[in-house]
Point group: C2
Chain length 165, copies 2
C-alpha cells in the first residue's frame, strides 16, 4: 500500500474538495472484524520486508524448531495452511538449506521435518528483527496493555466456535 491515509498532521489544510479525507467510515467503524484486520495489516508488510520472508515461512521455521520431526500436515494445521499449499513453501525452505525433509521410517507417508543450523540462525535473526519492530509499533501501549491485548486476541482465535449464521 503506497498511499496510506496517515498524512493529516503536517498538511497545510488542502482546499477541501467534494470528498475530503475527514470522511467517515460509517458503520464499518463499529465492526471489530474491520479493526482487527486493519491492525493486523500494520504488522503484515514489515514481515515481508524482513529478508524477503513470505507469510508462512517464519511460522514454519518456528514450529519445526519447537517440534523437531514434526510432519507437514501438523505444521499446516497449526498455521491454517492447506497441505497442498504447504508443499511449495517447504520446498522453498529446504532449497535454501533452512529445513531438512526426510521420510519418517515409522510411517513412510510422513515427511519428518527438522531445522538446520542455518535455519535456526536465520530464525533467531528474523525473530529479533520482528520483536524490535513490534516494540516500535506498540510504543503507544503500556506493557500491561500489550498483555491485555495478547490475552484478548488469544481468547478470540482459540475458540472452538465456528459460527455459520
Amino acid at each position: 500500500m503506497l498511499e496510506s491515509p496517515h498524512h493529516q498532521h503536517c498538511m497545510p489544510a488542502k482546499k477541501p474538495t467534494t470528498t475530503d479525507k475527514r470522511a467517515s467510515l460509517g458503520p464499518l467503524d463499529t465492526l471489530i472484524g474491520y479493526h482487527l484486520r486493519r491492525a493486523s495489516l500494520v504488522f503484515y508488510p514489515d514481515y515481508r520486508k524482513t529478508k524477503g520472508v513470505r507469510q508462512g515461512l517464519v511460522g514454519i521455521l518456528s514450529i519445526v524448531a519447537a517440534n523437531p520431526g514434526i510432519n507437514q500436515i501438523s505444521v499446516g494445521k497449526l498455521l491454517l495452511i492447506d497441505a497442498g499449499n504447504l508443499v511449495e513453501l517447504i520446498d522453498d525452505l529446504v532449497s535454501k538449506g533452512l529445513l531438512e525433509r526426510s521420510v519418517d521410517p515409522m510411517d513412510r507417508r510422513s515427511r519428518s521435518l527438522t531445522i538446520t543450523a542455518a535455519g535456526a540462525a536465520q530464525l533467531k535473526e528474523i525473530l529479533e528483527r520482528i520483536k524490535k519492530m513490534e516494540k516500535n509499533m506498540l510504543g503507544k501501549l503500556t506493557t500491561r496493555e500489550r498483555e491485555t491485548l495478547l490475552d484478548l486476541l488469544k481468547r478470540i482465535h482459540t475458540s472452538d466456535v465456528s459460527p455459520n449464521a
Copy 2:
C-alpha cells in the same frame, strides 16, 4: 480453510504419532503480529460467506453511504485499497445496482459515488448479519473487554508510525 485445528474436544485420543497436535508454536506464540492476524482470520471467512460479498465491498458501501458524493481516491485511502484495484470492485457494485457513479461536474476527473436504495438496503442487511456474527464470536468477552479490545486496536492502526527497521 477446511481443516481447522479445532477438533481437540470430542476426539477419542487418537493414537499419537511422531507429531501430535499438542505441538507448540515455538517463539511465534509470543508475537503480537501473529495473534492479530490469527484473530482477524476468525472473522474473515464469514465476511465472504455473507452473500458472496468480497473483502472490500462492505467497506465501500459503508463509506459511500456515510459520505455521499465521495470519490474513488478517497474511498481507497480510507480502506487502503489501491486506486487501480478499486475500479473493478466499484464496477461490480455499480453493475449490481448498489452504487451509482457519475462524473463530478466540479472536477471532471472525479467520479462522484452515491449509494442506491438497493445498496442501502443490502448494506443494512449485511451489517446486521455481521453484527450478529461478531456477537457470536466474541461471546467469551465481556462488554468491557470488547471495548478495551476495540480501543487497543484503534490505537495500533491509527498510528502515524511506519517503522522500517
